[in-house]
Amino acid sequence: MDKELEHSFVSDLEEHQNIVHKVCRLYAPDAESHNDLFQEITIQLWKAYPKFRGESKFSTWMYRVSLNTAITLYRKSKRTIKTADIEISDFKISAETYDDVVEEKLKLMYTAVKQLNDIEKALVFLYLEDKSYKEIADTMGISEVNARVKMNRVKTKLKKILNP
């Protein structure tokens, strides 16, 4: 039984691992922290897996546990890296398809998103993943109205960072 559970979990996670990698890209400043956070999210997902009864999609459930781990449960390693030191090279911008102006803008946007606080990052992440405000609100535990209001504020904040 345990083996079966292990097998179904690992297969599910292997299939949907992109979600976890994207969370790690947003919250982890470098490759080492990325792996560290991925590891912790995997453990938390595995711990919660027996309780996953399929009321929601596996991916929806994964968003929740992954973000919870990144924001709340994960204990950052001792090496704290200031936002200024963060390399944005981990975001591969598909340069050929964009002109220089757009590319420059995207680079700035990614840097700006990395400067947001943990909660704002979570909102932006869910927004970028094309989640509805209802889903964003449920994941964060706030009302839908507040999710919209906060998202608008984050947009303004990003605009300000981009056009000081």
Partner: protein, 210 residues
């Protein structure tokens, strides 16, 4: 906002550049141990409980309690003290375990943070009660030594200098403050460091609900 829409399009295109872990890589990961903050709070609390029980048992065996009797406090007093401190210990162990069980990574971010903070507050209350208990006990014993115990009087008379009683009182009070303060500071630092980020994020979420 067109910038964010632009970002959204690019964001969804990044899949190809994401790392790909194999089945075996992921399997190896589930065998490892977690190092989440909940686990750390849990470990620290267990250490606290063990330390308390250890102190109590050592004090019983090496005869620290006999000194209470030497200064005239009855053995019933000791029994009552032990009962109270073990009562506190058991009550909080149950509380703590119940809170710990409630922590669930599948809750919403806010509920999860609330449950962790609740657990942490239970530990903090335990520490606070223990420290108060310790302070009261020390004050009680010192007070008894100063005003009621004959042995202490004899001891004081035997020394060369006559120290006024209020000086002794102040000295004892200082000892209590320093000891309790030092232990309190250690706790403050341990939990402060551990939950600083959690508290910050929780405040941020709460601000949204205003």
């Amino acid at each position: 906002m067109d910038e964010l829409e632009l970002l959204k399009k690019d964001w969804q295109k990044q899949e190809a550049s994401l790392p790909k872990l194999s089945y075996d890589d992921i399997y190896k990961m589930i065998l490892k141990k977690s190092s989440s903050i909940v686990k750390w709070i849990f470990v620290i609390s267990i250490v606290e409980f063990l330390l308390m029980v250890g102190l109590e048992i050592t004090a019983r065996f090496n005869g620290t309690y006999d000194t209470y009797e030497d200064i005239g406090l009855s053995s019933e007093f000791n029994v009552v003290l032990s009962c109270i401190s073990f009562g506190i210990l058991i009550y909080f162990m149950v509380q703590f375990y119940k809170n710990y069980r409630r922590i669930n990574a599948t809750d919403s971010a806010k509920v999860l943070m609330e449950n962790i903070l609740k657990t942490r507050r239970a530990v903090k209350r335990y520490v606070f009660i223990n420290l108060s208990f310790m302070a009261i006990m020390l004050l009680f014993v010192f007070n008894y030594m100063l005003f009621y115990s004959q042995e202490f009087e004899v001891l004081q008379q035997a020394s060369d200098r006559d120290v006024p009683i209020y000086v002794l009182g102040i000295a004892f009070l200082m000892i209590v403050i320093v000891v309790v303060g030092a232990i309190g500071l250690v706790y403050y630092m341990i939990y402060g460091l551990l939950t600083r980020r959690l508290k910050k994020n929780y405040k941020e979420l709460e601000k949204l609900e205003l």
